[in-house]
């Protein structure tokens, strides 16, 4: 739906209205002279509102930023909280319905129908991945197989026996399933899989090609985060013209200092929810780096689209003063024909940061002559070095020696802090 600026502002004002009774927002807004939603007359006014961060959520742990009394909340979700207290979000019944509708709409756009059998191999639980997809698929009327993550042999058996046509999980788990399929007694022809809905971690275009080829499916990138709602904030369009953002979310792109950037420029994605009740969020910093475009797409969508997120601010490594994203390494590895299983190990020798990239050798990349192997190693080293702007060490390792993930993949081991 094409919205006028005034319509967007109207939506944003409603969210401001909703959060104003919450102390955290009230204090912040009063400090800049905003007492009522009506004080926001233009986008400029809106952009003066302070950003909301993960830290704000932690400070108000667990329910401090909820906009509805607990009696109206019907579900809680929480992030893993590996670096501190988890961030908790709450949903009203209306929120759950809205979320399901949003996800259903998006799935419909990429060709999922009520005739499909959807195997949901995202984790179920506090993580929003499993349940978010689950309710969306049910809303659509598809057959849901809520298998959750893990137990790969059983995943493949049921995928065949239940005739799953759609697979939803993280891209790294999809790849692991593909690899396990190749080694199993089940042949690809016995499967009916045709669509993959993959997200919850950054992945590259090369990774998509790899998964599509190995599973024989069309793969789509789904975007979301629990603080905003969960999966379904955006889903890639069938024409691969970026990820279309649902109209219940107002996106902005900001530079490192928090200044707005024009369409097409890369920066941090910031989102404001519209119509959310239990946990409305204003100008939330996603820490995901992307670019925004507004317009009409050949697939029929009108509104905001974002490029795929290949990097998160949190994933960024600073090595010898240079910003490094694992996705840059992934791209180079795939271009050189190596397996898409890799691990970045950062360590320190003396005062100097070192980056070691571990890649698995396979039959296609193995040569009996050390000179040839070293040649391949050097080419990869050069390609990664050119992409990152720093020199790296390549270490060839045996197949399957890098741990596989059933959820979000671990791509980096940073040993610098532990060694002091």
């Amino acid at each position: 739906m094409d919205r006028t600026e005034e319509q967007w502002l109207e939506g944003l004002r409603k969210t401001v209205d909703k959060v104003l009774p919450i102390r955290h927002y009230q204090e912040n807004y009063e400090a800049i002279g905003i007492k009522r939603a009506e004080d926001i007359k233009t986008f400029k006014d809106f952009q003066r509102l302070p950003l909301t961060t993960k830290e704000d959520l932690r400070k108000n742990y667990p329910f401090g930023l909820f906009a509805e009394p607990m009696e109206n909340i019907v579900r809680l979700h929480a992030s893993s909280g590996t670096t501190g207290k988890p961030t908790v979000v709450g949903y009203t019944r209306q929120d759950i319905t809205l979320w399901a509708k949003i996800v259903a709409n998006e799935l419909k756009r990429v060709g999922v129908t009520k005739k499909d059998v959807v195997q949901i191999a995202y984790g179920y639980g506090l993580f929003t991945g499993g349940m978010g997809l689950h309710y969306g698929c049910e809303e659509l009327g598809a057959v849901v197989v809520p298998i959750s993550g893990g137990n790969t042999a059983r995943q493949l058996m049921l995928m065949r026996d239940f005739g799953a046509t759609v697979l939803a999980c993280t891209p790294s788990y999809a790849l692991y399933l593909a690899e396990s399929l190749e080694e199993s007694q089940i042949s690809r022809d016995e499967l009916k899989l045709k669509i993959g809905i993959f997200g919850a971690e950054p992945w590259t275009e090369g990774m998509r090609e790899e998964i599509e080829a190995r599973l024989g499916i069309k793969a789509f990138d789904i975007y979301g985060l629990s603080e905003i709602m969960g999966p379904g904030v955006a889903l890639e369009c069938p024409a691969h013209q970026g990820l279309h953002i649902d109209e219940h979310f107002y996106p902005e792109i900001l530079d490192e200092e928090g200044n707005p950037l024009p369409d097409g420029e890369r920066g941090e994605l910031v989102i404001t929810s519209i119509k959310k009740e239990g946990f409305p969020v204003l100008r939330y910093r996603t820490k995901d780096l992307t670019t925004l475009h507004y317009g009409a797409c050949s697939c029929g969508h009108v509104g905001w689209s974002m490029d795929r997120v290949t990097a998160r601010v949190d994933d960024m490594l600073i090595i010898r003063g240079v910003n490094v994203f694992p996705s840059q390494v992934e791209e180079a590895i795939l271009l050189e024909g190596f397996e898409p299983h890799y691990l970045l190990v950062v360590y320190r020798v003396g005062n100097l940061d070192q980056l070691e990239v571990q890649v698995e050798v396979n039959e296609a990349t193995f040569f009996d002559e050390v000179r040839e192997l070293e040649g391949r190693q050097d080419r990869l080293k050069k390609r990664i070095g050119d992409a990152l702007g720093i020199s790296v060490r390549i270490r060839l390792v045996e197949p399957k020696s890098i741990p596989r993930s059933e959820g979000k993949a671990i791509r980096v081991i940073d040993k610098r802090n532990k060694e002091g």
Binding site: V361, E363, F366, F367, D368, E369, V370, L373, V397, E398
Partner: protein
């Protein structure tokens, strides 16, 4: 003849593991050489049934490739190997690597040769008619 080439990560016990695996598969090692770098090694072996052994190793997740090599009989006396190599050089054969072993039965000295260009070697062998195993 086909040589088995095996990728080995430099990890404690890895070589012993793979050699034990070969023992489990009842493979008799005729000759062996190990090229090593800082992080990994390439184990090269000559066995009786290379193709069959490769299949067994692959089932056990070992990265292995089959490499065409020549196994030449070398006169077991001073200058024997030099003679053979000089003849090959004259035929433009470029050797990538080489290792030697002795057959117990008849005390025969043998060398395994991996060459840069297979076609040149084939032609040289026709011309020179060197004894092979």
């Amino acid at each position: 003849m086909l040589q088995l080439s095996i990728f080995l990560e430099n990890a404690k016990g890895r070589l012993a593991e793979v050699i034990s695996l070969l023992a489990e598969c009842k493979v008799n090692l005729r000759a062996l050489s190990l090229a090593d770098t800082k992080d990994y090694g390439v184990l090269r072996i000559i066995v009786d049934n290379p193709e069959e052994t490769a299949v067994k190793l692959r089932e056990r997740k070992v990265v292995v490739s089959l490499t065409p090599v020549w196994v030449l009989k070398v006169p077991d006396r001073t200058g024997g190997l030099a003679e053979v190599l000089n003849q090959l050089v004259q035929q433009d054969v470029v050797v990538e690597y080489m290792y030697a072993f002795v057959e117990k039965a008849n005390e025969q000295a043998l060398v395994v040769l991996r060459v840069q260009d297979k076609a040149i070697m084939e032609k040289a062998m026709q011309t020179l008619n060197l004894p092979v195993k």
